[in-house]
């Protein structure tokens, strides 16, 4: 039953993925490289610089202190950064913010693997950062 459930889920996923292409063309390597720059600032625990990367209209929505409070416990638990494992990116149109590129970046740490979900606008200004 578990096998059948997994196969059905995978088939549905394929159908949905087929329906969901990129909203506009973009350079995937450039997007991944921009995401790694964001991750490097996280590793350096430079929250002021990280805050400065956010686009002007998004910046007032969060403070460097709030970023630190959200990110630091995750980093402390994960331990030292070791390597990036894999990355992927997709573009889409957001109702509020327009054209966006989102990069998913998986990184290996001493005690855990973390996945960064980082969103940029077309000029690679930071629009969102999520770490899990």
């Amino acid at each position: 039953m578990k096998k059948a459930a997994a196969v059905t889920l995978a088939a549905l996923l394929l159908i949905c993925s087929a329906c969901a292409g990129n909203a506009f063309e973009f350079d995937k390597e450039e997007a991944v490289s921009a995401a790694k720059e964001v991750a490097e600032l996280v590793h350096a625990q430079d929250y002021e610089a990280l805050h400065g990367l956010f686009r002007e209209d998004v910046r007032p929505l969060i403070t460097a202190e709030a970023l630190q409070a959200a990110v630091q416990p995750i980093l402390d638990q994960a331990g030292a950064f070791q390597e990036y494992e894999k990355a992927d990116a997709a573009s889409y149109k957001d109702k509020q913010y327009g054209d966006l590129i989102t990069v998913a970046l998986k990184a290996k740490y001493e005690n855990a693997a973390l996945t960064y979900t980082i969103s940029f606008d077309r000029d690679y200004a930071l629009m969102g950062l999520y770490i899990q």
Partner: protein
């Protein structure tokens, strides 16, 4: 912590009410206890042991799926709605065809109370219990709304259970497909309404309306059952 009266009412609606409903059904017919427990177990297996761990695994292991969930909210909502309907209605049908021996109207009701009751306890009841010790300020109206929603969905689960049970008894797949389609539509529309940023009470009103539609179905089936009696 949310206001205590709101929390207590929600705990009553999500934990006590399903158990109370089971007790009332069992007092009327002791045989209803078995379908009630099977309904509860079906939700536990279909959602907690199969669907949710598989979704979590996909989100952890597949960056493509993670991106899909973040960048395609409408398609992702459809995917979530389809899988919920597939696992829950599929699980219901399998259990009713292969395990459940009694297949009367009241057994379908008991199965639905078990299924919806387990969902209500796991999704809202237990998290609401943990709010008793939470320092977080949460609006009492939101807590009450989540409790009310579980009552609506429990009634909807009762109707789906009766629908699928009739399909299992008659060995006709039409009822199962109808339950699958309605379940998908309910979840998809509710998720879309949330995605669009509509006020939460509108989503709850939609679910309430759907519940009345399903109550109409239940009354229709009940009248048919009474007509069939000698």
């Amino acid at each position: 912590m949310p206001p205590l009266p709101a929390l207590l009412i929600t705990l009553f609606l999500t934990v006590v009410l399903p158990v109370l409903a089971a007790v009332v059904l069992a007092r009327r017919d002791r045989g209803c206890l078995s379908p009630f427990l099977l309904g509860a177990a079906t939700f536990g297996v279909a959602q907690y042991l199969l669907r949710m761990p598989l979704l979590r695994l996909l989100l952890q292991e597949s960056l493509g799926f993670l991106l899909f969930s973040r960048t395609q909210p409408v398609w992702y909502a459809l995917f979530l709605a389809l899988t919920a309907a597939l696992f829950e209605e599929g699980g219901r049908y399998l259990v009713m065809r292969c395990i459940m021996k009694r297949r009367g109207f009241l057994d379908g009701v008991a199965f639905g109370v078990g299924h919806g009751g387990m969902e209500s306890i796991l999704l809202i009841g237990l998290p609401a219990l943990s709010l008793l010790a939470s320092p977080q300020e949460i609006s009492g109206a939101m807590v009450l709304l989540s409790g009310a929603e579980r009552v609506f969905t429990m009634v909807i689960h009762v109707a789906f259970s009766v629908m699928v049970l009739r399909a299992a008894r008659r060995r006709r797949i039409g009822g199962l497909l109808l339950a699958f389609a309605l379940h998908t539509a309910l979840n998809f529309i509710a998720l879309l309404m949330q995605n669009q940023g509509l006020p939460i009470y509108l989503t709850e009103l939609f679910i309430l309306g759907f519940m009345f539609f399903m109550v109409g179905y239940l009354l229709y089936v009940k009248s048919k059952v009474e007509e069939d009696l000698p």
